[in-house]
């Protein structure tokens, strides 16, 4: 976990876009989806990657409620973490706007950039649609 002021090119721009409801993924000519920062498609090696709009919602495929966090999430625990399938990509995020005990597989969510209660850093989150 970096605590410096230096941004991570590619990643922080993605969070900026997600905050403005313009989340995207990278698509290669062979229709493989991936997340930035990336110059090469990890599936096929294609180097022409295009930013395409991420589908508005995804479906939770698996989840967990974490009670023992890293220090960066000490004040946030317990919290739910999930992997949601958005079609071209799957994404890992913290589920907000719902009691962690109510999170379940199949729940439909959208991207919501939230903030760590511990550090004030931005956190990639999901909220129920």
């Amino acid at each position: 976990m970096s605590d410096s002021e230096t941004r991570d090119a590619g990643f922080d721009e993605w969070l900026d876009a997600a905050e403005e409801d313009r989340a995207y993924y990278l698509a290669c000519p062979n229709d493989h989806g991936s997340l930035p920062p990336r110059r090469v498609c990890p599936d096929c090696g294609a180097t022409e990657l295009e930013d395409l709009e991420l589908p508005d919602s995804g479906e939770i495929q698996t989840f967990t409620v974490t009670h023992v966090p890293t220090p960066a999430f000490e004040e946030d625990a317990p919290y739910a973490t999930a992997i949601a399938n958005f079609g071209p990509v799957r994404i890992t995020g913290q589920v907000v706007g719902i009691d962690p005990a109510d999170v379940e597989t199949g729940l439909e969510v959208e991207i919501e950039v939230t903030v760590s209660e511990t550090t004030g850093e931005r956190v990639l989150g999901f909220s129920p649609v």
Binding site: T64, T66, T70, P71, T81, Q94
Partner: protein, 388 residues
Amino acid sequence: MSDVRVAGVGLTPFGNAPERTSRDLFAEASITAFEDSGVPRDDVDALLYGNFMGELSEHQGHHGPLMAEAAGVRAPATRYESACASSGTAVRDAVMRIRNGEDDVILVGGAERMTNLGTAGATEALAIAADDLWEVRAGMTFPGAYALMAQAYFDEYGGEHEDLAHVAVKNHENALNNEKAQYQSAIEVSDVLEAPQVSSPLGLYDSCPISDGAAAVVLTSEEYAEEHGLEAPVSISGTGQGGDRMALHDREYLARSPAAREASDEAYADAGVDPADVDFAEVHDCFTIAEVLAIESLDLFPIGEGVSAARDGRTTADGETPINLSGGLKAKGHPVGATGASQIAEVTKLLSGKHPNSEFVEGATTGVAHNAGGTVASATVHVLEVSE
């Protein structure tokens, strides 16, 4: 191509020794390994050393020469870092170097100092094995990652927490007479089910402990072993390594470990054995669900059946394929950088009749060691056989 012999093995106790430096831990393991092998230190051609979090726990990089010095070895030394598979990858490279005829004697091993970081600090340090941008910054911990896999497994193949509890109970049972193990205490299924949750569905007793410790192994060529009259009946006859996408969410399967399957396919083919030939295995059970995924990846149990193997007594000490007779990471402990080499040490002792649990695998000729890094984005598998 030379057969690769295990000439000697050494382990420190695994457990809580926050004040001990990794150089001290590795020195102890290497002394035992050299004594066990009968190989003089001067004959060592190289040290390959596994370590994961030395920068974080000891503010120390550049471990190679430091550990060669600690072991009293004057030879080129290189550190291997592949998260929890660090010394598994070191063993693999040692095997290939000896086979290629580049080296005759290699000291391979690893160490980790972890408990000085405390639970929160060690959790943070372990998390760097995941994708920092896309996993760790979303709050995913390592127990959390395996919990995501456990939940996905239950949804896809069935099974419940009680099945996983039997894995923990079995591995504690196996460690009862392992004097190097961190926990030499029996637990019951109810202990696992009632333990505080770490990351649902996994609780405290589904997780391996945070451990300090070291392992060292002296490997030689067959020619060297014969020329010097070494007693080294166990050989590493197969090696394999697999890789996968770094982040769990980028994998094709959330409840399988294809990298470990790739590694085991390669290792079995290399050794010329089938999964059915495997008498027992030491697998990377950093969490109870990890043992399930491992025994399925090794093709010892069909996909979806691994979860009930411990509960049904198929992987217990007296079962058809004993798994983690050492106690596994769960009870023996998991000093990350030492784990892969420690599995080689345990399998060697089991095969040569020198292990407290050797009685359960009497007459066994083939054992397997499975070491995994991250959420199994890295995996190594080694096949060990009795060659004389």
